[in-house]
């Protein structure tokens, strides 16, 4: 991977990798989470349901780690074992090198004060003001009044909610409520922040602002953020690593650009589908299966992000020895890796000619042929 990166990279991509490496502290450092052969089975009248199956996983510290899967894939159960809101049926959860399954109630309370959590429906207390909501974790920990007030002011400023101290949550918008939730989760200066579908109840614009806030917090406070979502766009926006869960098992795991650029598992592909674009209808209608005399070849170029560098159309044209017309496509930049699919039209190209493109693109295939200018 590092070898391919020798190609010229945009500045922000270099900065990203350097930063990511600098932050990869020892795995047992503060905020590290490890699952060992974790199993969770629910028993109900309808029978036993195995929600998690033999999860072996290490979550690096200081990153934004995304867990994605369809509903019922076990994301929520997995997340909740980290602060023991969910007790595993078997296996261990190791936080900062300690097996939290052995903790007694006191140790568990202390652990939970080091792990913040935010929720899809915010879960703010309606009978308390913003200030009281954010202060509650400190109040139950028995901190002196003055230090509580000071800390509450700090975190409310951090999430951009100055001046809302004495407002009740019912008077706030969804985005503001989640900011209160984040402030409450951060008030103990945790090492880990768990986000349970934190943006699923928000509109796209608010989602983006909350995700930016999470990213800022991750950068400035250096805490580990573990978030679960069913939306690929959330993962793409903020996560560095992603875990795809499917029916309680790990489908695949890795840096987001890698998993998204070259999904290996059907579950990942299914989740990615809403982000991909199919062949435009007008084009599909005119597509012929065989070459048409004097017509053009439609080629789909796929970039997985592993190629390094950006799609260089002039170079492709030179390699093929013909001109290319760009018809349709999307290139995303994920963690500095360009990836996506482009549809191009060229004259007189056969399947064999495409072999020459190897190394420049992830994959290239002939989609079909059209009679003349599209």
């Amino acid at each position: 991977m590092l070898g391919t990166m020798a190609a010229p990279l945009p500045v922000d991509a270099v900065a990203n990798t350097v930063q990511a490496r600098a932050r990869a502290i020892s795995p047992a450092g503060p905020g590290a989470v490890r699952f060992e052969r974790l199993d969770k089975t629910y028993h109900s009248a309808a029978g036993a349901v195995r929600a998690l199956e033999e999860i072996d996983l290490e979550i690096p510290t200081g990153r934004i780690y995304g867990i994605i899967g369809r509903s019922g894939a076990g994301k929520s159960s997995l997340l909740r074992t980290i602060n023991r809101l969910e007790e595993p049926t078997s296996g261990r959860v190791i936080v900062d090198g300690q097996d939290i399954g052995r903790f007694d109630e006191n140790a568990l309370v202390q652990l939970r004060r080091r792990i913040g959590m935010i929720f899809q429906h915010f879960n703010l207390l309606s009978a308390k003001t913003v200030r009281e909501n954010v202060a509650l974790p400190l109040v139950v920990a028995g901190l002196p009044r003055r230090r509580i007030d000071q800390r509450v002011d700090e975190v409310l400023a951090l999430v951009g909610l100055e001046g809302k101290h004495d407002v009740y949550p019912s008077r706030l918008s969804g985005g503001q409520k989640q900011r209160v939730g984040i402030a409450r989760a951060l008030v103990h200066k945790p090492e880990i922040l768990l986000c349970d579908e934190a943006t699923s109840a928000l509109d796209p614009e608010t989602t983006l602002s909350i995700l930016r806030l999470l990213r800022d917090i991750n950068r400035s406070l250096g805490l580990t953020i573990i978030l679960i979502t069913h939306e690929m766009s959330v993962i793409r926006e903020v996560c560095e690593n992603v875990l795809v869960l499917e029916q309680g098992r790990i489908a695949e795991e890795g840096p987001v650009w890698q998993v998204f650029g070259d999904p290996k598992h059907d579950a990942t592909r299914a989740l990615l589908r809403p982000l991909s674009r199919d062949l435009p209808e007008d084009l599909a209608a005119r597509l012929a299966p065989r070459p048409v005399a004097g017509g053009e070849t439609i080629i789909e170029l796929h970039y997985t992000g592993a190629q390094g560098g950006d799609p260089d159309l002039a170079r492709l044209a030179a390699t093929l020895g013909t001109s290319l017309r760009l018809l349709h496509g999307t290139i995303d930049r994920i963690q500095g890796h360009a990836q996506g699919t482009l549809l191009v039209a060229a004259r007189g190209i056969s399947e064999q000619d495409l072999d020459a493109l190897k190394g420049h693109v992830g994959s290239a295939r002939v989609v079909g042929y059209v009679a003349s200018d599209v």
Partner: protein
């Protein structure tokens, strides 16, 4: 109505206020812990204790199923044990509170049960102990419903306190029966009814107002 009768009416009113007030206070202080226990000890609660839960629930249901007038008589020995007498205001307070407490506990239980499970989860996640959850989450969040339920309890008790006259407790009900009914004094009867209606109206209004204030935030 003679001036003497007005004095009697005033004294009867004070007796009723005393009976209902004291019993309501007891129902509040005992009923809320019972309600909290029933909620947190039920299956899925954060302090599961199925057997004890069923036992407490059975006792609560037993008292609720017994009609007040029967309870009043059945409890006479217990009342004498506690207060040393079976007549008068304090003797009536014993059966009144024993009847009102389970009634109120059940109503409060419903409000507590309606508190969003997510809030309890959030409280656990932030490092709250069980007692903190009751104190900072369950009770404050259920407060509007509890106040509404307490209002209903007090209104029901004003009605029940009239029956306590049957054991010589005094109060407005006793006066209506003795003067209004047995002496055919319609004026007294009407006066008592007016006072009772006024009491119920004021209690209901105060309760509704408080609930509205609590919900409106």
């Amino acid at each position: 109505m003679s001036p003497a009768m007005y004095n009697r009416l005033w004294a009867a009113f004070l007796d009723t206020v005393q009976m209902v007030g004291a019993s309501a206070l007891i129902a509040l202080l005992v009923g809320i812990p019972i309600a909290v226990f029933l909620v947190v000890s039920s299956p899925g609660g954060f302090y599961e204790a199925p057997r004890l839960n069923r036992a407490v629930a059975a006792v609560v249901n037993g008292f609720r199923a017994t009609p007040f007038i029967v309870l009043l008589v059945a409890l006479l020995p217990f009342t004498r044990f506690l207060t040393g007498t079976t007549i008068g205001v304090w003797a009536a307070i014993v059966p009144l509170s024993i009847s009102a407490t389970p009634f109120f506990a059940r109503i409060a239980e419903v409000s507590l049960r309606e508190v969003d499970k997510g809030l309890i989860e959030a409280a656990q996640a932030m490092g709250c102990r069980k007692w903190h959850i009751v104190r900072h989450v369950l009770l404050p969040e259920a407060l509007p419903g509890i106040v509404g339920g307490f209002t209903i309890t007090v209104v029901t008790m004003i009605g029940a306190s009239a029956m306590a006259g049957a054991v010589g407790a005094g109060g407005l009900g006793d006066m209506a029966i003795r003067y209004g009914y047995q002496r055919f004094d319609t004026a007294v009867m009407v006066a008592v009814i007016i006072v009772l209606v006024a009491m119920v109206t004021i209690v209901q209004f105060a309760g509704d107002y408080t609930v509205r204030r609590l919900r409106d935030r």
